[in-house]
Symmetry: none
DNA sequence: GATGAATGAGAATTCATTCAT
DNA sequence: TATGAATGAATTCTCATTCAT
């Protein structure tokens, strides 16, 4: 009997090795060889777990977006504005280690711009989050937690976009932890002030 | 020195041809050959105007950011909140044609993530805009246009990040003109409401 | 020694599976994996029965040529031209199923052109057949069945070559059963007419 | 102005270099690298003249078959059996140099067995030659040069097949010049005797 | 004996860059 | 200055073979 391997686990190992290799060498300059070395396996083994480099990259991006979705969509709707924004705020707190990967994820993501299929998936994911937030805003209106003059649909997308924008700036440009915390704080305050009845 | 004018013109022509080629073939798949074809010049001629592909790409990105900077930094400080936000709002209105280029610029930009030098330049540019907004916020506080409890420095960066986030979402995902207008409107309103004394 | 019988049987099973795989995927594109799948055994098991892919292929070719030799060399010399040519004619009648394998055998055979060792084996086999025919021609001359002006040595090789040519044309190009029968008939007639005293 | 090259001539140079490389290293083991070396050009240059290895090989095979067709189909129909068969006989005389390439051509040809498109082309070519011979046989019957009992259509294909078979045996197995001449002689005699009225 | 995961040498192909004309 | 043919380093991916289980 040959070695029994946990395929899922090996795939995770390779994906995480790939990310480390991307960190070391830069996303586009990283070769399958370097990824294999980082994972301590042979080049050919890579191809036993991922059909091609493109598949590996899109799997990494998908995984990232899946996690993002889980992080940004709470289990159930919040009944108060405070709770809702506290949840968002918490989701925005990324540790230093993770924030190193932001540019990498964006580069990987960018490399898929020309694929209609993938972009549709990501588009759908953002619509899903937007939709959840919109419904939560409607609940908060009903609860007379927030003004009933706002447009829940539009504002929810503005919220997501702002979150993305802030995370992106943290990841791309050297915004330190301290400053970032203040930005998150102020962004949340912005919404609190503007929405509160 | 008419030759110098020609050189500049040719460089602009090549950069714009490159962008069109990127649109056609996707940023990373576009070859120097295709750029030359798009520009109706020979491959070798490209190298008379740009030392390398990397230089061409970074020149394109730089140009884009220079324009962005010009668009986002007004000639002088605004004295009222209304004027300030009206300016931002106007800057956010991108025509349909231009928004096609957003993913491309982003991809080109992403390809430079691993270059410390380039990232520093872009970082500095955002700091410059942030700094201008911060000072304008301070003027508006002095003018008792806005609350004096806000943190001008932090909020200015939040503003830039939000602008970036909204524009990127428009460029990446299929957000139509109508929806985008509403988003810009609401984002500006958010700031108006939150900042107004 | 029942194990020995099993081994032979397994080798035959693998060889025939390989041929089917070649039919399915084309000779050169067929991998050891596909052969193993076709034989319903593991890749590693293949190597217990054949030292290498080259050995497997050459064994297949050898087997084919051994069968060809058996088919083309009768048990004993014929005493009349009619019997001799009737035997050849019968040997030429290949069923539809078998003729599908002709291009495959040829391709497998062709892959050994650069091996002096193998080519020598096949060369020797054709010499052996030629030699048998030559001797039979000499017997027929003695029996005054055929003209004594012919060159038995040369003509026997011409006969083999012609047989080969006809069979290959049937295998390579879409010559239907009917036409092929007529060709065999006429080829035999050619010899009958030309040789008969 | 860059170097002006005769594209056709360069292609011929590459094809002939490829053949020499095939002779040296064996058809299937020859790499594009070796072909480039043999042609004294860089690997990349190869791809300026042939889109892929497959195209190069199929171009070589096509060229060979075009030449074969030209060699086997005379300018006009022959009016006597002697002339007809003398022409065939002459076509069969291949010099020693050329005969080295026979196995290579066959291996290249064999590598295309799985391509329906190419096989159709070669099939058509043989039908064309067969058709010409058939018509010439019919003329010879009219001229009372040969028996009117033969089947021109079938016999013409037998003739081609026999030619192919003999050439093949010369190319594959070490049949020396002398013996080969005798074989050609006897094969032609066979037809003369059998067909003559 | 049997298995199939792991290996890594090796091949085709691409493309930024150079340079002779 | 302009050209585009030539270059060859670099990259992805394949697959025969090995070997631990």
């Amino acid at each position: 009997m040959p070695k029994v391997v946990d395929k899922k686990q090996m795939q995770k190992h390779i994906m995480s090795s790939a990310l480390n290799a991307f960190l070391k060498y830069g996303f586009h300059k990283t070769t399958m060889n370097q990824i294999a070395n980082e994972a301590n396996i042979a080049k050919g083994t890579l191809y036993l777990y991922f059909k091609s480099k493109d598949v590996l990259i899109s799997d990494i991006t998908s995984l990232h977006f899946e996690r993002l979705e889980k992080k940004l969509i709470p289990k159930e709707y919040f009944q108060t504005l405070e709770e809702f924004l506290a949840y968002i705020k918490n989701a925005l707190l990324i540790n230093k280690e993770d924030s190193k990967f932001i540019p990498i994820f964006f580069e990987a993501f960018a490399s898929q711009f020309s694929s209609e299929v993938f972009m549709k998936v990501y588009e759908d994911m953002f619509e899903k989050i937007t939709s959840f937030y919109k419904e939560n805003f409607e609940i908060l209106i009903e609860n007379t937690e927030i003004k009933n003059t706002i447009n829940p649909s539009t504002l929810s997308r503005v919220l997501i976009s702002m979150i993305d924008g802030i995370v992106l700036h943290k990841g791309f440009f050297k915004i330190n932890e301290n400053r970032y915390s203040l930005m998150v704080e102020d962004a949340i305050d912005l919404f609190t002030t503007a929405l509160r009845k």
